[in-house]
Every structure is written in C-alpha cells, then in structure tokens.
Symmetry: C2
Subunit: 304 residues, 2 copies
Amino acid sequence: MITVLSGGIGAARLIRALSGVIDPTQITAVVNVGDDLVLHGLTICPDLDTITYTLAGLNNDELGWGLRDETWRVMDELDELGGAAWFRLGDRDLATHLYRSQRLSEGATKTEVTAELATRLSVNVRLLPVTNDPMATEFVTDRGRLTFQEYFVRYHHDVVVTSIEVVGASTARLSDEARRALHDASRIVIAPSNPLISIDPILQVPGVREILHERRENVVAVSPLVQGTALKGPADRLLRELGHEASSLGVVDFYEGLVGTWIIDEADAALAEKIRGRGVHVEVTTTIMAEPDNAERLAKAVLA
Amino acid sequence: MITVLSGGIGAARLIRALSGVIDPTQITAVVNVGDDLVLHGLTICPDLDTITYTLAGLNNDELGWGLRDETWRVMDELDELGGAAWFRLGDRDLATHLYRSQRLSEGATKTEVTAELATRLSVNVRLLPVTNDPMATEFVTDRGRLTFQEYFVRYHHDVVVTSIEVVGASTARLSDEARRALHDASRIVIAPSNPLISIDPILQVPGVREILHERRENVVAVSPLVQGTALKGPADRLLRELGHEASSLGVVDFYEGLVGTWIIDEADAALAEKIRGRGVHVEVTTTIMAEPDNAERLAKAVLA
C-alpha cells in the first residue's frame, strides 16, 4: 500500500506510471483541494479531475487538461450571453461538475463523490481529497488578491506573487480516509507537483505534517525541478519570488523534516551530495516522464 | 402599459401575440417562480426561460420547451456518469443556467439576471419574477410529496394530487418592480396558464391578490380551458382532483373577486351567460393561438 500526496498533472503522470508497476488498487492518492472552486454554481475540483481523467485514459493531451474528444457548446453560448467564459469548461467535463454538485447538494461528501466518479470511469487507484472541508488557495499579487484560478488560468500565472494563503486550511479536518491512508501506507510519496500551491495546501491541513514528520523514513519525494526549472507551471518562479532557492535543493529545504528519501533528476546529479548533507537519502534517476520507459524507471525508483 | 401574470408556454404565446399588436416595451410580464429549482448546483427558472426563449424567437417548437438547434452532449455524459439526467438540460440551455447561477452567486437578484438575459437575447418585453425570494410549488400525491419538476417532468403529471403547497410563498416579498408593474398598468392580464400551478403561486405572494382585487375592473383573464380541456398540461385534471369544476366556469370561480373581464373560447360560448351571472364581463373569441391570425384576434380582444 502506497499513498501519494498529489497535485494535478505531475502527480497524475507519476500515479499512472506507478499503476504500471504495481497493482493500482494498492495505490491511494491524497489530493490537493486548494484549487477547487465554485463557479456558475458548480463545484469544480481541478486536481481530482485531472488525476481521474488521466488514470481513466480520457485526458486531453493536446490541451494538457480536461477530457479528450471535448466540445465547447456550453462555453460558446455562455460567452455569447456575456458570462464568465475565461475558465473553459468543456461539455463532457461539465457533466462531471454537474454530477459532483448535485451529489454534494444531496449531502454526499467530496470523498464519496470522488469515489463514485472514479468507479464510473473505471479508475482503480483510490483517490481521496485531503479534506471534505472547503479550502481555497489565494495569492497576494501585483494585481491584487487573486483566487487560484484567477492566478493560474485567467492571468496564466504571469503576475508577481508576494504571498500565498490557503484560506480554511488551518480549520480543515483531515478526512478519516486520508488519515488512515497516510498512517497505513508502507510508503508515502510526495509527487513532483508544485510544492507551494499543490503540496503545501495538503501539508497545511492539521495532522498531515505531523504524520509525515513521524513517518519521514518512509516518505519519498520526487523533485519537481530539473536544473532549477519546472517542467510545467510556475513552481520555479514562485519559489524565487517567495524567498526560496529555485532548485531541487530549495525544494528539499522547503520540505525539511518531512522526507527520508529524495529522487532527483540525472541533470541535477551534482546536487546529490549537498542534498545528502541535509541528512536524507538521495536517488538519482530520470524524473521527466514524457517517455513511458522513463516513467517506468521513475516509478521503480519510487518503489525501490 | 399592460402587465401579464404569466406561467410558461401559454403565457409566452399570449405575450408574443400582444407584442405583435402593441409596442413590446409597453408590456411587462410578472412571472411565476414556483417551479424554479436548483439542480446540479444550477438555479433554473423554467417559466422565465420559456418566455425569454419564445420572445427571442429561439424556442424549440418540436420539443415544446428549451432552445432550438439544441445539442445534448452534457446530458449524455451525465447519463453515462449515472447522474440525474431525467431533467433534460440542453447544452445551449445550460449556458443560461450557468450565467444565472454565477450572477446570483455574485449577489445579483433574480430580477436583475432576468433583465440581463432578456437584453442579451434582444427581448423587449419586460420580464419580472414575481419575487426574488425562493418559492417552491410542491405536490402531495399518491407517490408521496413531489417537487414541481418531479411531478411535471419526471412523472409527466401522471399522478393523483391531493394537495398543492407553495413553500415559501407566504413569506416571499413581492418585488418592488413587480408591485409597481401591477399598480401602474392600465390593464392587468391573467394569461391562459395553469391556474393552480402557474398563476396561483403568483397570487400567493402577499400583496398580489389585494392589488388584483382592488383593480379588478382593469383585470382581464383568458380562460386556459376549452370545453373543459386544457390545451396543454394537467390543468383540467388538477382542477377536478382538487375539487373544482374542470371548465371555464370552474376557473372563473377559482379567480373569484380578482377579474373584471373574462375571455373564453367560442366553443364555450354557451357558458357566457352563466359566467356573466358571476358579475363579470365576458368576451367570446378564439383562445387557441396555434394560428397567428387567431393569436392576433385574441391579443386584440385582451387589449380591447
């Protein structure tokens, strides 16, 4: 049984790779919900959906998000009505949000709805929102305070960030299922997701840091940076803007006290000794999962 | 200035006919919201939408509801996910509900959102929900207590109704705009909508009955029944089940004290004397609006 702390696409790819190496039913993902939003009355969970769609083989590789074979009739009409169409929701994707919003309104928890959607889409990995409570990652920027999706989608993270706040995190309750998954896993994996906006919101839920700290010898983290650069998204820029070093070493320090073993990319091999100096194990392999062979190698390193 | 108490399709057709005879900007519709619902997180206003779509020339005549050139991608996907797809929402139609739900969540009133949608769709008649407060028409039936759309759509009104309750009506606040439209109109028209489930919820909003009673010499009602039969929907059956006579006379008695002039169909001419006996004026004309000529004749009778 392994448990993966997960953001969106980076985590989805790692979990997909892990599923190729071990029985998917032995994998649990504890997923960030800090970028969840309510828009048009719909509860949208981008990270959970990205993982679900990717593991179902339904992800849209062209866009890098959403579902394949997507159409945009609703958004096109909404745009004509003068509605807020900047957050693109495809017709197929909307069905997920309608389903979730209805079930939540009937009293189901986010954990239950996530499981229902996974079952419907034949996903065998267990997906758990870290909490059933609302949490919202917000950004103080040169354009004012922004919600996650304003920051990420509307402004394409092209703003100067001075601080990040995860509203609701300090009072959010770690779900029983997520708590058990963290306690019972033989190994906890921190996916190569954005440390500041994908993983940190999970760590801010009371209890998570404590469990990781206690179990750090069983915690393996994959660095999301290669030669100081994020493969996707604003992790490097954010680390710099918020006073961290934009390198695997900076990420190691960011997770100080929570990780026993680090996996870094071959291109960062020169950092291995310095990272070992922080008192952790270091494995050097490919962390770029574009090629299936590399993804499998990384998965095996994570499980080794 | 005339003001029309309105349900859905029957009212929409009358208003469309009236718009052909007088300047549409001189017409206000005060519309039932008792069949509004929140489904999948979306606030849906079937009567307001039917009128808006019909006046915009976008109504789907084939279905008798919704928008023309409609597609069903979201519903098909929702059905595959096992979601509640019995209440069919087309892709174009969904854009309306997304727009409304988002604007309501931003603090706009239903009155404001209705005006915005009408403007976007170039509707010149003024459409006013009778209240901005929530109201829900519910049915006590042989299948238990049903919401409006469960009764109407899910069970196709093929159930035995023992009573109807408009939850929230007694505390709903007649909107200022609707109150003024009723006060200021030179004529108030009661559309040939279902008396029990389209018009009565409007009448139950405190203040409406009083205004109509005071102004009854200026109130014209069009009977929704022809030879005891509703052209569409369950008005006749409901009247019978709830102890009223299923005829134009039954409807006249249902609206007792609120109407000065009745318009009934030629086929019911034999009832005219009996209705006059109730102390009201009676005009006999065609009330069936299928032919444009007939619709115009009816509109002229209403305005005469």
